[in-house]
């Protein structure tokens, strides 16, 4: 009897502890995000006050972002479209180059495949920021500074290695007999690639396409170094510029930051299952 009671008490304590930890995690995760919303809902003068909850919340800052009536926000929507298009191009090129390479290694099985794998691995372990200085110099030489193509080039370079790993692992689950059967029927490598390989790789393509799009949407350093004209910037660089302006329009900054953060969040939650299989598929060999 007392043993059962002790077990029940123990379970009770465990439940209370889990609830406390859960509450702490909610606060931990949400405080910086709450701060974003809190500041965005304030008027410019109220930003410099000691409140925790906005005294008179208003959507004024969001309206300012939408009609770009504040000078630092003049090019905001152009920057959103820059971020979007750079992301789309990066994702497309990553998918094209990644699948072509993984098809060469995994399906055509050339003897030099290991060199491609090692090149990808080598790129993967070089921190992106370490190549920023020479990359900037090279782009200067080519007259490519202030050109979105330079940003696209570097983002594709750093997104492709992971794409190649995932495509190779995923491709290994597609039976090789399919290729052989197609070959017997007289299919050429490009036909096998387009008609057999790509359709069967669809889930991995979705995962890596999302990965590359988000990598590009979130990238700051290279866009900051390589782009300078106001109308060519991506959003994170535009947000960074706010910080250096003499006025501190924190409410507009936070409202713009929220508008910029919403699309990737929607993608994360919409593609959550596919993303996590994509991102952790390789995590463990089960």
């Amino acid at each position: 009897m007392s043993l059962a009671r002790r077990a029940r008490a123990k379970r009770h304590i465990a439940q209370v502890a889990a609830a406390v930890l859960g509450a702490f995690l909610v606060v931990w995760s949400l405080v910086p995000l709450y701060n974003m919303v809190r500041v965005a809902l304030q008027e410019k003068e109220d930003v410099f006050s000691s409140n925790v909850i906005p005294a008179t919340p208003s959507l004024h800052s969001f309206w300012t972002v939408f009609d770009t009536s504040y000078w630092l926000l003049a090019k905001f929507w152009m920057q959103m479209s820059n971020s979007f298009w750079i992301g789309v191009v990066v994702a497309s090129l990553t998918l094209i180059i990644g699948t072509l390479t993984s098809f060469t290694i995994g399906r055509l099985r050339i003897r030099q495949g290991w060199m491609l794998t090692n090149a990808a691995l080598m790129t993967y372990v070089i921190p992106m920021s370490f190549l920023a200085i020479p990359f900037y110099g090279i782009m200067g030489k080519y007259g490519m500074t202030d050109n979105p193509l330079a940003v696209i080039a570097v983002e594709v370079t750093f997104a492709t290695p992971y794409a190649i790993f995932i495509f190779q692992q995923y491709g290994a689950s597609i039976p090789y007999e399919l290729d052989e059967a197609a070959r017997i029927d007289g299919a050429s490598p490009p036909q096998i690639f387009l008609l057999i390989y790509l359709p069967l790789m669809a889930p991995a393509l979705v995962a890596i396409g999302t990965y590359a799009l988000l990598l590009s949407w979130n990238e700051y350093l290279y866009a900051f170094l390589l782009l300078s004209t106001e109308g060519k910037l991506t959003v994170p660089v535009g947000l960074g510029k706010f910080l250096n302006s003499d006025e501190a329009p924190w409410n507009y900054l936070m409202a713009a930051a929220i508008v910029y953060a919403v699309p990737p969040m929607v993608i994360y939650y919409a593609f959550r299952r596919k993303m996590s299989t994509g991102l952790t598929m390789g995590g463990v060999k089960g």
Binding site: S29, N35, L108, L121, I133, W217, L253
Partner: protein
């Protein structure tokens, strides 16, 4: 083509195509392979090999290193980098290890909690960091406002004190990346066969025994790979320091990645910036070698 001549016997044909495709490629196959591999080879040559060579050339003058080591900011940046790597990465991964167990609990509210928990990871880095920067403002930030309204006392000057500012950078790093590593380690835990736990429970093992004798050894190599990979990424991390402390106060919280960019672009001395970055190679190379060795063992894949 050997395939057409043996087409009468599908079994032979199949065996032969396999051996053909494994050993010898036909001429046209080889041309196709060349064409398919070309885009990546070009990208690799133009945007990885060329910048590496150019960077090594930029940072090849010994005099630059004398100038770098004489810079009073350099030792503190090196120390901060080491602190960032050891404290932020290891604390984050240890928490991720524990939380990955917590999130394996069954029940609807754990699932909802997990959705909230991954928010910092889903929000792009720059807005998150900018918000933390303003949240920690000593005069008008949310944290000190909350301290004031609860205790009627002034909170600490989070970003105006070197130690607190570095601590704030570490906090921001953990806040941003904890969800990602927790999910990776959850995937690792899911790969552990449940029978192991059940068998141990039958033998009367406690929860702590299960953790120590099953979870820890089964996750060890994944955990090590996570540590190495996370260290490499943290070594190149620019955004956290840039947006949380900006390297301040008085340049005391720079890390090598941000100091390199500062030397190259703000001071306008690209060779000095490159030397700063290259001086991190003695840290980077051992991490990479250990990672490669661990990956070669084949228990964990990227």
């Amino acid at each position: 083509m050997a395939v057409t001549s043996t087409i009468e016997n599908p079994v032979v044909a199949r065996a032969q195509t396999r051996s053909v495709s494994w050993r010898k490629l036909t001429r046209s196959d080889r041309l196709w392979a060349l064409a398919f591999a070309t885009p990546y080879v070009l990208v690799f040559a133009a945007f990885v090999i060329y910048p590496i060579c150019f960077g090594l050339w930029l940072g090849s003058d010994p005099a630059t290193y004398r100038q770098l080591f004489a810079d009073p900011v350099y030792p503190s940046a090196l120390r901060n980098t080491l602190i960032y790597l050891t404290v932020a990465v290891n604390l984050k991964l240890f928490l991720a290890l524990l939380l990955s167990g917590f999130f394996m609990r069954k029940g609807w509210w754990t699932k909802i909690l997990l959705l909230i928990f991954i928010l910092p990871w889903a929000v792009p880095a720059i807005p998150g960091y900018i918000s933390i920067h303003w949240m920690l403002n000593s005069q008008w930030g949310l944290v000190n406002n909350a301290i004031w309204s609860l205790l009627q006392a002034d909170g600490p000057p989070w970003l105006d004190n070197s130690a607190l500012a570095l601590g704030s950078v570490i906090y921001a790093h953990i806040w941003k990346w904890l969800p990602f590593w927790t999910i990776i380690l959850m995937a690792g835990r899911m790969a552990i066969p449940l029978e192991l736990y059940e068998a141990a429970k039958v033998d009367g093992a406690s929860a702590l025994d299960l953790f120590r004798h099953i979870t820890v050894p089964m996750l060890a190599s994944l955990y090590l790979v996570c540590t190495l990979l996370s260290s490499i990424w943290a070594l190149g991390d620019f955004n956290a320091v840039r947006f949380i402390s900006g390297g301040g106060p008085a340049l005391s919280t720079h890390v090598l990645a941000t100091l390199g960019i500062r030397n190259a672009f703000e001071i306008g001395n690209p060779p000095l910036g490159m030397a700063t970055v290259l001086s991190a190679l003695p840290l980077l190379i051992p991490l990479v070698i250990l990672l490669m060795r661990q990956l070669k063992k084949g228990q964990v894949q990227l």
